[in-house]
Amino acid sequence: MPHPFRLYGRFLRTYMKTQLEYRFSFFGDIFVNMMTFVTLYLSFWVLFNTFPTMNGWNYWEVVFLYNLNLLTYATSSLFFWGPMKQLEHLVRSGEFDQFLVRPLDPLKLLVFRQFQHTFIGHIIVAGTVMVLCTIQLEIHWTTGNIAFLLLCVLGGTLIQAGIIITAASSAFWVVRSGTVVDISIYAIRNFINYPISIYGRSIQLLLTFVIPYAFVNYYPAAAFFGKDHAGSSELSHLYSYSSLAVGAALFAAAVWIFRRGVMRYDSAGS
């Protein structure tokens, strides 16, 4: 039994081979996804052309905040978006059976099987624009803040992955799990496109304790730029340094929920 990472390498190579067979489409997918964000940055630019501030955040800070979300979402989606989107169909049709008879953990196999190259475009855009933001904001780099940022990206990626896995695992309990996924990763994630201090207390609590998207970008970025928090208490300063811990806990919980779901799974029968 090869090491899981080596095995994933094999799966990845096969996936890439099939995709690169259609080179034009492959690069087209990536290019189109990059283009879509141009209009988004333009919208931010237009807003800041008229308005001086977004709750104390300037243009480059808001763009940075947005990209922290985008970068972590895309990194997690490279691995999880494809499989988790498929899960509803696999469970409903009974095709999930095949994952139970292979000599590999079902979750691993599910993830290994389906990489999603389209998100490479998001990562290129988000990474480049974030570097541009730090140049514009004249961030003074130290080992400390580089390490902080990297750990926040890692934590954020784990949070995004945890949320999509949890949402998709609902397939084992409800029929329309695709909708649960869409609400979690599209509708709710919309909240963190802007600093969450623009919302009322209840939404902030929701995004901190129920669906902890705020740890993906708001709390880390607020600390990175030395901003006052929404509810500037002693406790909330701790939030800025908790992304990785929240991410690890959420990811572990998500894997546990998925496994509980698999135990509950009884095939559609044939």
Binding site: V32, T39, V46, N49, P52, M54, I183
Partner: protein, 266 residues
């Protein structure tokens, strides 16, 4: 009974089946509205703290803009791109070709049928929330007739655009590339998120030559009473020209596509 009327009734009936779907999309729509309203509120507060006056529109008008923009999105939406690319790629388009009714018209009446259901179950709930929860005033009665004309124009413009993108499947398999492009260009250039009155002059000059603002900005600016007579006249003329151009393009592409089409026997 007229066959297109029958198609429309079918669409009404099939949408009633997807009640759960309707509930979910309404929920998502309300979240979107809430996020945008919070954003504008924060921006206006920020401008106030800098003693800046925003002359283009008041905060309440922006709230109305957000709500009505979301509703216009509902009213102009259609399934053309999915429907056409699916029909073309699977070869099912052949059934559309042998039917004695037009493909364009059957898509049109299906879309209109789905609107009847939508008005009852998606638009009215949002209007109730906006009026009773957000306390927004209802639009001015006098603006309604011109608004309706603009709305029909918006619907037609968008319908033709999506029809053309859908037919691109005759040549280009990954239709979603063009669909993504259209969606994102629309998001920005149509005034869906940000009304054109906040755009810098150079950018507006570009947009004046493009058809996208016909879809959101034109009806919205009429509804909020922001467009004056001269501007309404210009928008109407622009709409007619663009609809004629897009319709001509659609007819041409449809004929070229049919010639390109090869269907495997079954």
């Amino acid at each position: 009974m007229n066959v297109y009327y029958k198609l429309m009734l079918n669409a009404v009936q099939s949408s009633t089946v997807y009640r759960f779907h309707t509930f979910v999309t309404t929920f998502q729509r309300l979240i979107g509205i809430f996020v945008q309203i919070s954003l504008w509120t924060a921006l206006y507060k920020g401008a106030q703290s800098f003693q800046m006056e925003i002359t283009q529109a008041s905060l309440q008008e922006m709230w109305m803009y957000v709500v009505y923009s979301s509703l216009i999105g509902l009213m102009v939406a259609n399934g053309n791109i999915y429907s056409l690319s699916d029909k073309i790629q699977t070869g099912h388009i052949v059934t559309a070709l042998i039917r004695p009714i037009g493909l364009f018209r059957s898509l049109l009446f299906e879309t209109l049928g789905s609107k009847v259901f939508m008005i009852l179950f998606e638009i009215i709930p949002v209007l109730i929330v906006s009026h009773f929860v957000l306390g927004l005033p209802l639009p001015n009665i006098e603006a309604i007739p011109v608004f309706m004309i603009m709305l029909i124009m918006a619907f037609t413009t968008f319908f033709l655009m999506t029809f053309i993108v859908g037919m691109s499947s005759f040549w280009y398999i990954r239709t979603f590339h063009l669909e993504f492009m259209l969606t994102h260009v629309m998001n920005f250039f149509s005034g869906l998120m940000i009304p054109l009155w906040f755009f810098p002059r150079e950018l507006r000059a570009v947009m004046d030559w493009l058809p996208f603002d016909l879809v959101y900005y034109a009806p919205l600016s009429v509804l909020l009473g922001k467009a004056k007579y001269a501007e309404i006249g210009v928008m109407l003329a622009k709409g007619c020209v663009w609809i004629a151009l897009l319709a001509a393009a659609a007819v041409m592409i449809w004929h070229l596509g049919k010639r390109k089409l090869v269907i495997q026997g079954g």
